[in-house]
Protein backbone atom coordinates (compact mmCIF):
# COMPACT_ATOMS: atom_id res chain seq x y z
CA UNK A 1 0.00 0.00 0.00
CA UNK A 2 1.54 3.28 -1.13
CA UNK A 3 1.66 6.19 1.30
CA UNK A 4 -0.50 9.16 0.22
CA UNK A 5 -1.12 12.72 1.27
CA UNK A 6 -4.44 14.23 0.25
CA UNK A 7 -4.91 11.15 -1.90
CA UNK A 8 -1.69 11.75 -3.86
CA UNK A 9 1.35 9.51 -3.99
CA UNK A 10 4.96 10.71 -3.95
CA UNK A 11 5.15 10.58 -7.74
CA UNK A 12 1.89 12.53 -7.98
CA UNK A 13 3.32 15.29 -5.78
CA UNK A 14 6.53 15.42 -7.80
CA UNK A 15 4.56 15.66 -11.03
CA UNK A 16 2.35 18.36 -9.56
CA UNK A 17 5.45 20.33 -8.60
CA UNK A 18 6.93 20.02 -12.09
CA UNK A 19 3.62 20.92 -13.72
CA UNK A 20 3.22 23.96 -11.47
CA UNK A 21 6.71 25.19 -12.34
CA UNK A 22 5.96 24.92 -16.05
CA UNK A 23 2.45 26.40 -15.75
CA UNK A 24 3.35 29.36 -13.53
CA UNK A 25 6.45 30.19 -15.58
CA UNK A 26 4.37 30.01 -18.74
CA UNK A 27 1.69 32.29 -17.29
CA UNK A 28 4.30 34.85 -16.26
CA UNK A 29 5.92 34.79 -19.67
CA UNK A 30 2.65 35.08 -21.60
CA UNK A 31 1.43 38.04 -19.58
CA UNK A 32 4.88 39.66 -19.59
CA UNK A 33 5.29 39.36 -23.34
CA UNK A 34 1.75 40.66 -23.91
CA UNK A 35 2.46 43.68 -21.69
CA UNK A 36 5.72 44.53 -23.44
CA UNK A 37 4.40 43.77 -26.92
CA UNK A 38 1.53 46.27 -26.61
CA UNK A 39 3.85 49.21 -26.08
CA UNK A 40 6.40 47.93 -28.57
CA UNK A 41 3.68 47.48 -31.21
CA UNK A 42 2.57 51.06 -30.63
CA UNK A 43 6.12 52.27 -31.18
CA UNK A 44 6.68 50.10 -34.26
CA UNK A 45 3.35 51.26 -35.75
CA UNK A 46 4.83 54.76 -35.88
CA UNK A 47 8.47 53.88 -36.52
CA UNK A 48 8.98 50.40 -37.99
CA UNK A 49 12.78 50.81 -38.08
CA UNK A 50 12.87 50.29 -34.32
CA UNK A 51 11.53 46.73 -34.56
CA UNK A 52 14.96 45.08 -34.35
CA UNK A 53 16.01 47.08 -31.31
CA UNK A 54 12.75 46.40 -29.50
CA UNK A 55 12.50 42.68 -30.18
CA UNK A 56 14.85 41.63 -27.31
CA UNK A 57 12.81 43.74 -24.86
CA UNK A 58 9.62 42.01 -25.98
CA UNK A 59 11.13 38.52 -25.95
CA UNK A 60 12.90 38.81 -22.61
CA UNK A 61 9.92 37.83 -20.39
CA UNK A 62 9.77 34.61 -22.43
CA UNK A 63 12.77 33.20 -20.53
CA UNK A 64 10.68 32.63 -17.40
CA UNK A 65 8.56 30.13 -19.28
CA UNK A 66 11.74 28.27 -20.22
CA UNK A 67 12.93 28.20 -16.62
CA UNK A 68 9.65 26.63 -15.54
CA UNK A 69 9.90 24.20 -18.45
CA UNK A 70 13.46 23.25 -17.39
CA UNK A 71 12.28 22.58 -13.84
CA UNK A 72 9.48 20.36 -15.15
CA UNK A 73 11.90 18.41 -17.36
CA UNK A 74 14.31 17.97 -14.44
CA UNK A 75 11.55 16.45 -12.32
CA UNK A 76 10.83 13.94 -15.07
CA UNK A 77 14.50 13.08 -15.67
CA UNK A 78 16.03 13.20 -12.19
CA UNK A 79 13.32 11.17 -10.49
CA UNK A 80 12.94 8.55 -13.17
CA UNK A 81 9.40 9.41 -14.19
CA UNK A 82 10.48 9.65 -17.83
CA UNK A 83 11.74 6.07 -17.58
CA UNK A 84 8.39 4.91 -16.25
CA UNK A 85 9.42 4.78 -12.57
CA UNK A 86 6.32 5.70 -10.58
CA UNK A 87 7.25 4.64 -7.04
CA UNK A 88 8.77 7.76 -5.56
CA UNK A 89 8.31 7.76 -1.77
CA UNK A 90 5.76 10.29 -0.46
CA UNK A 91 8.39 12.26 1.50
CA UNK A 92 10.62 12.54 -1.57
CA UNK A 93 7.75 13.44 -3.88
CA UNK A 94 6.49 16.14 -1.53
CA UNK A 95 9.99 17.58 -1.20
CA UNK A 96 10.29 17.68 -4.99
CA UNK A 97 6.96 19.54 -5.03
CA UNK A 98 8.38 22.08 -2.57
CA UNK A 99 11.61 22.38 -4.58
CA UNK A 100 9.58 23.38 -7.65
CA UNK A 101 7.84 26.28 -5.87
CA UNK A 102 10.64 28.91 -6.05
CA UNK A 103 11.00 28.76 -9.82
CA UNK A 104 7.24 28.55 -10.41
CA UNK A 105 6.13 31.52 -8.35
CA UNK A 106 9.15 33.75 -8.90
CA UNK A 107 9.01 33.17 -12.65
CA UNK A 108 5.32 34.00 -12.79
CA UNK A 109 5.69 37.28 -10.89
CA UNK A 110 9.01 38.28 -12.45
CA UNK A 111 7.74 37.48 -15.96
CA UNK A 112 4.79 39.84 -15.51
CA UNK A 113 6.90 42.60 -14.01
CA UNK A 114 9.64 42.15 -16.56
CA UNK A 115 7.01 42.79 -19.22
CA UNK A 116 5.89 45.97 -17.47
CA UNK A 117 9.50 47.11 -17.06
CA UNK A 118 10.12 46.30 -20.72
CA UNK A 119 7.08 48.35 -21.73
CA UNK A 120 8.53 51.34 -19.87
CA UNK A 121 12.04 50.76 -21.17
CA UNK A 122 10.71 50.61 -24.75
CA UNK A 123 9.90 54.31 -24.33
CA UNK A 124 13.63 55.00 -24.09
CA UNK A 125 14.19 53.37 -27.49
CA UNK A 126 11.23 55.30 -28.91
CA UNK A 127 12.96 58.55 -28.00
CA UNK A 128 16.58 57.56 -28.70
CA UNK A 129 17.39 54.47 -30.75
CA UNK A 130 21.04 54.65 -29.72
CA UNK A 131 20.05 53.94 -26.10
CA UNK A 132 18.61 50.51 -26.91
CA UNK A 133 21.42 48.84 -24.95
CA UNK A 134 20.70 50.89 -21.84
CA UNK A 135 16.98 50.19 -22.15
CA UNK A 136 17.66 46.47 -22.13
CA UNK A 137 19.38 46.65 -18.74
CA UNK A 138 16.24 47.47 -16.73
CA UNK A 139 14.20 44.41 -17.67
CA UNK A 140 17.41 42.36 -17.42
CA UNK A 141 17.64 43.33 -13.74
CA UNK A 142 14.27 41.68 -13.13
CA UNK A 143 15.61 38.55 -14.84
CA UNK A 144 18.19 38.12 -12.06
CA UNK A 145 15.58 36.88 -9.61
CA UNK A 146 14.10 34.38 -12.04
CA UNK A 147 17.60 32.96 -12.58
CA UNK A 148 18.24 32.81 -8.83
CA UNK A 149 14.98 30.95 -8.28
CA UNK A 150 15.88 28.46 -11.01
CA UNK A 151 19.28 27.89 -9.41
CA UNK A 152 17.66 27.20 -6.03
CA UNK A 153 15.14 24.82 -7.56
CA UNK A 154 17.86 22.95 -9.49
CA UNK A 155 20.12 22.66 -6.42
CA UNK A 156 17.24 21.41 -4.28
CA UNK A 157 16.30 18.81 -6.88
CA UNK A 158 19.89 17.62 -7.28
CA UNK A 159 20.12 17.23 -3.49
CA UNK A 160 16.85 15.29 -3.43
CA UNK A 161 17.99 13.07 -6.26
CA UNK A 162 21.23 12.29 -4.38
CA UNK A 163 19.25 11.48 -1.26
CA UNK A 164 16.44 9.37 -2.75
CA UNK A 165 17.50 8.03 -6.13
CA UNK A 166 20.55 5.88 -5.31
Amino acid sequence: MKETLLGMTGTDWALLGGAMAAILGGIGSSIGITAAAGTVSGIVSEDSEKFGKLLPITAMPGTQGFYGFIAGILVLILFGVLGGKMDLPLAAGFKVFIACQPVGWVCMVSGIYQGITGASAAGIVAKRSEDAGKALIFPALVETYAVLSLIITVLMMISLQSAYMK
Binding site: G42, Y113, G115, A122, G123, A126, K127
Partner: protein, 335 residues
Protein backbone atom coordinates in the same frame (compact mmCIF):
# COMPACT_ATOMS: atom_id res chain seq x y z
CA UNK B 1 -1.16 58.49 -8.41
CA UNK B 2 -2.69 55.20 -7.42
CA UNK B 3 -0.07 52.57 -6.59
CA UNK B 4 -2.10 50.12 -8.67
CA UNK B 5 -1.68 52.37 -11.70
CA UNK B 6 2.05 51.85 -11.49
CA UNK B 7 2.05 48.11 -11.10
CA UNK B 8 -1.05 46.80 -12.82
CA UNK B 9 -0.34 44.58 -15.84
CA UNK B 10 -3.92 45.24 -16.92
CA UNK B 11 -3.08 48.95 -17.31
CA UNK B 12 0.01 48.04 -19.29
CA UNK B 13 -1.91 45.78 -21.63
CA UNK B 14 -4.86 48.14 -22.04
CA UNK B 15 -2.91 51.32 -22.72
CA UNK B 16 0.40 49.86 -23.92
CA UNK B 17 -0.24 50.33 -27.63
CA UNK B 18 -1.42 53.92 -27.25
CA UNK B 19 1.47 54.79 -24.94
CA UNK B 20 3.92 53.25 -27.40
CA UNK B 21 2.54 55.47 -30.16
CA UNK B 22 2.67 58.48 -27.86
CA UNK B 23 6.33 57.83 -27.04
CA UNK B 24 7.17 58.17 -30.73
CA UNK B 25 4.72 60.98 -31.49
CA UNK B 26 6.12 63.03 -28.59
CA UNK B 27 9.45 63.11 -30.39
CA UNK B 28 7.69 64.82 -33.32
CA UNK B 29 6.14 67.56 -31.19
CA UNK B 30 7.43 71.03 -31.92
CA UNK B 31 10.47 72.15 -29.99
CA UNK B 32 11.80 75.62 -29.43
CA UNK B 33 13.73 75.55 -32.70
CA UNK B 34 10.52 75.12 -34.74
CA UNK B 35 8.79 77.95 -32.89
CA UNK B 36 11.83 80.18 -33.43
CA UNK B 37 11.75 79.39 -37.16
CA UNK B 38 8.05 80.21 -37.30
CA UNK B 39 8.69 83.44 -35.39
CA UNK B 40 11.54 84.46 -37.64
CA UNK B 41 9.74 83.54 -40.89
CA UNK B 42 9.41 86.75 -42.89
CA UNK B 43 6.01 85.88 -44.40
CA UNK B 44 2.96 83.73 -43.81
CA UNK B 45 3.90 81.74 -46.93
CA UNK B 46 7.25 80.90 -45.36
CA UNK B 47 5.48 79.77 -42.17
CA UNK B 48 3.28 77.49 -44.28
CA UNK B 49 6.39 76.08 -45.94
CA UNK B 50 7.94 75.34 -42.53
CA UNK B 51 4.75 73.58 -41.44
CA UNK B 52 4.32 71.68 -44.70
CA UNK B 53 6.13 68.58 -43.43
CA UNK B 54 4.52 68.62 -39.99
CA UNK B 55 1.14 67.12 -39.06
CA UNK B 56 -0.31 70.60 -39.69
CA UNK B 57 0.85 70.71 -43.30
CA UNK B 58 -2.30 69.34 -44.91
CA UNK B 59 -4.58 71.44 -42.72
CA UNK B 60 -2.73 74.69 -43.38
CA UNK B 61 -2.13 74.12 -47.08
CA UNK B 62 -4.21 76.56 -49.11
CA UNK B 63 -5.11 78.81 -46.15
CA UNK B 64 -4.94 82.53 -46.80
CA UNK B 65 -6.96 84.26 -44.08
CA UNK B 66 -7.15 84.03 -40.27
CA UNK B 67 -10.53 82.29 -40.69
CA UNK B 68 -8.92 79.64 -42.92
CA UNK B 69 -6.18 79.12 -40.33
CA UNK B 70 -8.74 78.78 -37.52
CA UNK B 71 -10.67 76.23 -39.52
CA UNK B 72 -7.56 74.28 -40.53
CA UNK B 73 -6.14 74.16 -37.02
CA UNK B 74 -9.58 73.20 -35.68
CA UNK B 75 -9.50 70.18 -37.99
CA UNK B 76 -5.96 69.35 -36.82
CA UNK B 77 -7.13 69.51 -33.21
CA UNK B 78 -10.09 67.31 -34.04
CA UNK B 79 -7.64 64.74 -35.44
CA UNK B 80 -5.61 64.84 -32.21
CA UNK B 81 -8.78 64.31 -30.18
CA UNK B 82 -9.56 61.41 -32.49
CA UNK B 83 -6.43 59.79 -31.09
CA UNK B 84 -8.18 59.61 -27.73
CA UNK B 85 -10.92 57.47 -29.31
CA UNK B 86 -8.36 55.31 -31.12
CA UNK B 87 -6.53 54.75 -27.86
CA UNK B 88 -9.72 53.36 -26.33
CA UNK B 89 -9.48 55.71 -23.40
CA UNK B 90 -12.52 55.56 -21.11
CA UNK B 91 -15.47 57.62 -22.34
CA UNK B 92 -15.32 60.13 -19.43
CA UNK B 93 -11.70 60.91 -20.37
CA UNK B 94 -12.70 61.70 -23.96
CA UNK B 95 -15.64 63.73 -22.70
CA UNK B 96 -13.29 65.68 -20.43
CA UNK B 97 -11.55 67.01 -23.52
CA UNK B 98 -14.51 67.56 -25.78
CA UNK B 99 -17.15 68.88 -23.40
CA UNK B 100 -15.21 72.11 -22.93
CA UNK B 101 -16.07 73.01 -26.52
CA UNK B 102 -19.77 72.39 -25.85
CA UNK B 103 -19.61 74.95 -23.06
CA UNK B 104 -17.70 77.36 -25.33
CA UNK B 105 -20.43 76.92 -27.96
CA UNK B 106 -23.12 77.44 -25.34
CA UNK B 107 -21.45 80.66 -24.23
CA UNK B 108 -21.27 81.81 -27.84
CA UNK B 109 -24.94 80.95 -28.42
CA UNK B 110 -26.10 82.77 -25.27
CA UNK B 111 -23.96 85.82 -25.93
CA UNK B 112 -25.05 86.00 -29.56
CA UNK B 113 -28.68 86.11 -28.39
CA UNK B 114 -27.85 88.88 -25.90
CA UNK B 115 -25.95 90.96 -28.44
CA UNK B 116 -28.34 90.07 -31.27
CA UNK B 117 -25.85 88.72 -33.79
CA UNK B 118 -25.83 85.40 -35.66
CA UNK B 119 -23.87 82.70 -33.82
CA UNK B 120 -22.84 80.62 -36.85
CA UNK B 121 -19.27 81.93 -37.24
CA UNK B 122 -18.53 81.60 -33.50
CA UNK B 123 -19.20 77.89 -33.17
CA UNK B 124 -16.52 75.21 -33.10
CA UNK B 125 -17.16 71.61 -34.06
CA UNK B 126 -14.91 69.94 -31.50
CA UNK B 127 -17.45 69.23 -28.78
CA UNK B 128 -19.54 66.19 -27.91
CA UNK B 129 -22.52 67.82 -29.64
CA UNK B 130 -22.52 68.88 -33.31
CA UNK B 131 -22.03 72.63 -33.64
CA UNK B 132 -25.35 72.89 -35.55
CA UNK B 133 -27.27 72.00 -32.40
CA UNK B 134 -26.27 75.36 -30.96
CA UNK B 135 -27.97 77.21 -33.82
CA UNK B 136 -31.40 76.63 -32.32
CA UNK B 137 -32.79 77.91 -29.03
CA UNK B 138 -30.23 77.13 -26.27
CA UNK B 139 -32.92 75.81 -23.91
CA UNK B 140 -33.68 73.05 -26.44
CA UNK B 141 -30.17 71.63 -26.07
CA UNK B 142 -29.72 68.26 -24.36
CA UNK B 143 -28.79 68.12 -20.69
CA UNK B 144 -26.93 69.63 -18.94
CA UNK B 145 -26.76 72.48 -21.47
CA UNK B 146 -30.49 73.04 -21.90
CA UNK B 147 -31.23 73.61 -18.23
CA UNK B 148 -28.07 75.68 -17.84
CA UNK B 149 -29.22 77.93 -20.70
CA UNK B 150 -32.69 78.15 -19.18
CA UNK B 151 -31.14 79.16 -15.83
CA UNK B 152 -29.04 81.87 -17.45
CA UNK B 153 -32.00 83.25 -19.42
CA UNK B 154 -34.24 83.13 -16.37
CA UNK B 155 -31.76 85.03 -14.22
CA UNK B 156 -31.40 87.65 -16.93
CA UNK B 157 -35.15 88.19 -17.09
CA UNK B 158 -35.29 88.22 -13.29
CA UNK B 159 -32.82 91.02 -13.13
CA UNK B 160 -34.81 93.02 -15.60
CA UNK B 161 -32.45 92.83 -18.52
CA UNK B 162 -29.05 91.72 -19.56
CA UNK B 163 -26.78 91.48 -16.55
CA UNK B 164 -23.83 91.38 -18.86
CA UNK B 165 -21.76 89.04 -20.91
CA UNK B 166 -19.48 88.47 -17.93
CA UNK B 167 -22.44 86.97 -16.08
CA UNK B 168 -22.86 84.38 -18.84
CA UNK B 169 -19.14 83.64 -18.72
CA UNK B 170 -19.23 83.09 -14.98
CA UNK B 171 -22.34 80.87 -14.96
CA UNK B 172 -21.21 78.72 -17.88
CA UNK B 173 -17.62 78.46 -16.57
CA UNK B 174 -18.88 77.29 -13.18
CA UNK B 175 -20.99 74.61 -14.83
CA UNK B 176 -18.05 73.62 -17.04
CA UNK B 177 -15.65 73.21 -14.12
CA UNK B 178 -18.28 71.13 -12.30
CA UNK B 179 -18.72 68.94 -15.41
CA UNK B 180 -14.95 68.52 -15.82
CA UNK B 181 -14.68 67.49 -12.20
CA UNK B 182 -17.49 64.98 -12.68
CA UNK B 183 -15.82 63.52 -15.81
CA UNK B 184 -12.49 63.28 -14.00
CA UNK B 185 -14.08 61.53 -11.01
CA UNK B 186 -15.97 59.07 -13.23
CA UNK B 187 -12.81 58.32 -15.21
CA UNK B 188 -11.05 57.28 -11.98
CA UNK B 189 -7.91 58.96 -13.24
CA UNK B 190 -6.18 60.77 -10.40
CA UNK B 191 -4.17 62.65 -12.98
CA UNK B 192 -7.35 64.00 -14.57
CA UNK B 193 -8.87 64.81 -11.18
CA UNK B 194 -5.73 66.77 -10.35
CA UNK B 195 -5.97 68.56 -13.68
CA UNK B 196 -9.63 69.48 -13.09
CA UNK B 197 -8.69 70.93 -9.69
CA UNK B 198 -5.74 72.77 -11.21
CA UNK B 199 -7.96 74.35 -13.87
CA UNK B 200 -10.14 75.77 -11.10
CA UNK B 201 -7.15 76.93 -9.03
CA UNK B 202 -5.62 78.64 -12.05
CA UNK B 203 -8.95 80.25 -13.01
CA UNK B 204 -9.41 81.55 -9.45
CA UNK B 205 -5.84 82.84 -9.29
CA UNK B 206 -6.33 84.72 -12.57
CA UNK B 207 -9.64 86.13 -11.37
CA UNK B 208 -8.11 87.34 -8.09
CA UNK B 209 -5.24 89.12 -9.84
CA UNK B 210 -7.59 90.72 -12.39
CA UNK B 211 -9.96 91.86 -9.63
CA UNK B 212 -7.06 93.32 -7.67
CA UNK B 213 -5.77 95.15 -10.75
CA UNK B 214 -9.30 96.51 -11.27
CA UNK B 215 -9.41 97.55 -7.62
CA UNK B 216 -12.56 95.52 -6.97
CA UNK B 217 -13.90 95.11 -3.46
CA UNK B 218 -13.57 91.84 -1.55
CA UNK B 219 -17.38 91.67 -1.38
CA UNK B 220 -17.49 91.04 -5.15
CA UNK B 221 -15.31 87.94 -4.89
CA UNK B 222 -17.96 85.32 -3.96
CA UNK B 223 -19.73 86.04 -7.25
CA UNK B 224 -16.66 85.42 -9.38
CA UNK B 225 -14.69 82.66 -7.64
CA UNK B 226 -15.33 79.02 -8.44
CA UNK B 227 -15.41 76.11 -6.01
CA UNK B 228 -13.96 72.73 -6.87
CA UNK B 229 -10.23 73.52 -6.75
CA UNK B 230 -7.67 72.39 -4.21
CA UNK B 231 -8.62 75.43 -2.17
CA UNK B 232 -12.19 76.51 -1.57
CA UNK B 233 -13.32 79.83 -3.00
CA UNK B 234 -13.45 81.10 0.61
CA UNK B 235 -9.81 80.14 1.22
CA UNK B 236 -8.74 81.83 -2.01
CA UNK B 237 -10.69 84.99 -1.15
CA UNK B 238 -8.77 85.26 2.14
CA UNK B 239 -5.59 85.95 0.15
CA UNK B 240 -7.18 89.06 -1.32
CA UNK B 241 -5.43 92.03 0.27
CA UNK B 242 -2.42 94.25 -0.48
CA UNK B 243 -1.13 95.10 -3.95
CA UNK B 244 -1.44 92.91 -7.05
CA UNK B 245 2.26 92.01 -6.70
CA UNK B 246 1.74 90.97 -3.05
CA UNK B 247 -1.29 88.92 -4.04
CA UNK B 248 0.71 87.23 -6.84
CA UNK B 249 3.47 86.39 -4.35
CA UNK B 250 0.93 84.82 -1.96
CA UNK B 251 -0.65 82.82 -4.78
CA UNK B 252 2.79 81.71 -5.94
CA UNK B 253 3.56 80.34 -2.48
CA UNK B 254 0.61 77.93 -2.70
CA UNK B 255 1.62 74.32 -3.30
CA UNK B 256 -1.06 74.02 -5.96
CA UNK B 257 0.45 76.83 -8.05
CA UNK B 258 4.05 75.79 -7.43
CA UNK B 259 6.42 77.10 -10.07
CA UNK B 260 4.21 79.96 -11.23
CA UNK B 261 6.15 83.02 -12.35
CA UNK B 262 5.20 85.45 -9.59
CA UNK B 263 7.05 88.41 -11.13
CA UNK B 264 5.03 88.19 -14.35
CA UNK B 265 1.73 87.28 -12.73
CA UNK B 266 0.83 90.86 -11.86
CA UNK B 267 1.33 91.85 -15.50
CA UNK B 268 -2.11 91.60 -17.17
CA UNK B 269 -0.55 91.03 -20.60
CA UNK B 270 1.35 87.97 -19.30
CA UNK B 271 -1.20 86.59 -16.83
CA UNK B 272 -2.79 84.06 -19.22
CA UNK B 273 0.57 82.77 -20.42
CA UNK B 274 1.94 82.47 -16.88
CA UNK B 275 -1.17 80.60 -15.75
CA UNK B 276 -1.03 78.22 -18.73
CA UNK B 277 2.59 77.44 -17.88
CA UNK B 278 1.43 76.00 -14.54
CA UNK B 279 -0.77 73.55 -16.44
CA UNK B 280 2.13 72.62 -18.75
CA UNK B 281 4.30 71.94 -15.68
CA UNK B 282 1.57 69.63 -14.36
CA UNK B 283 1.44 67.77 -17.68
CA UNK B 284 5.14 67.03 -17.41
CA UNK B 285 4.43 64.94 -14.30
CA UNK B 286 2.58 62.47 -16.55
CA UNK B 287 5.96 61.45 -17.94
CA UNK B 288 6.73 59.68 -14.67
CA UNK B 289 3.88 57.28 -15.40
CA UNK B 290 5.30 54.38 -17.41
CA UNK B 291 2.03 53.07 -18.84
CA UNK B 292 -1.54 54.19 -18.30
CA UNK B 293 -3.96 56.81 -19.60
CA UNK B 294 -1.84 59.66 -18.21
CA UNK B 295 0.83 59.84 -20.96
CA UNK B 296 -1.92 59.78 -23.62
CA UNK B 297 -3.89 62.53 -21.90
CA UNK B 298 -0.75 64.63 -21.45
CA UNK B 299 0.21 64.14 -25.09
CA UNK B 300 -3.19 65.30 -26.37
CA UNK B 301 -3.13 68.31 -24.03
CA UNK B 302 0.39 69.12 -25.20
CA UNK B 303 -0.80 68.96 -28.82
CA UNK B 304 -3.70 71.22 -27.86
CA UNK B 305 -1.20 73.75 -26.48
CA UNK B 306 0.87 73.36 -29.63
CA UNK B 307 -2.16 74.16 -31.80
CA UNK B 308 -2.75 77.28 -29.71
CA UNK B 309 0.87 78.34 -30.16
CA UNK B 310 0.79 77.72 -33.91
CA UNK B 311 -2.47 79.68 -34.13
CA UNK B 312 -0.88 82.64 -32.31
CA UNK B 313 2.12 82.55 -34.64
CA UNK B 314 0.19 82.19 -37.91
CA UNK B 315 -2.62 84.60 -37.18
CA UNK B 316 -0.13 86.98 -35.56
CA UNK B 317 1.93 86.97 -38.75
CA UNK B 318 -1.17 87.48 -40.90
CA UNK B 319 -2.14 90.41 -38.66
CA UNK B 320 1.35 91.92 -38.97
CA UNK B 321 2.32 91.54 -35.31
CA UNK B 322 5.97 91.94 -34.33
CA UNK B 323 8.00 88.77 -33.53
CA UNK B 324 8.72 90.13 -30.02
CA UNK B 325 5.02 90.46 -29.25
CA UNK B 326 4.35 86.95 -30.55
CA UNK B 327 7.23 85.48 -28.55
CA UNK B 328 5.77 86.97 -25.36
CA UNK B 329 2.48 85.21 -26.05
CA UNK B 330 3.97 81.75 -26.35
CA UNK B 331 3.48 79.28 -23.52
CA UNK B 332 6.14 77.02 -22.08
CA UNK B 333 6.63 73.85 -24.06
CA UNK B 334 5.94 70.27 -23.11
CA UNK B 335 9.46 69.18 -24.06
Amino acid sequence: MRASALISPRQTIRYGFAVGKVRVLETRAFGRATYERLLDAPTFAEQKRILSESPYGRYIEGTETPEDVERGLGEALDAFYGFLDESELPKPVVRFFRVRYDFANLKAALKARVVGVPVTSMLVGLGTLPAEEFLGHPTDLPEPFGSLAAGVEFSERDEGGVEGLAGIDMTVDRAMFAELKKCARTSRSEFLEGLARLYVDVANAKTLVRMRLKGASVTELPDVLVDGGSLTAKDVAELYYGSAADLAARLGSLTQLRGINVAEMADPSRLDVVADNVVVAYLRTARAVPVGPEPVIAYVLAREAEVMAVRVLLIGKLSGLDAGVLRARLRDLYE
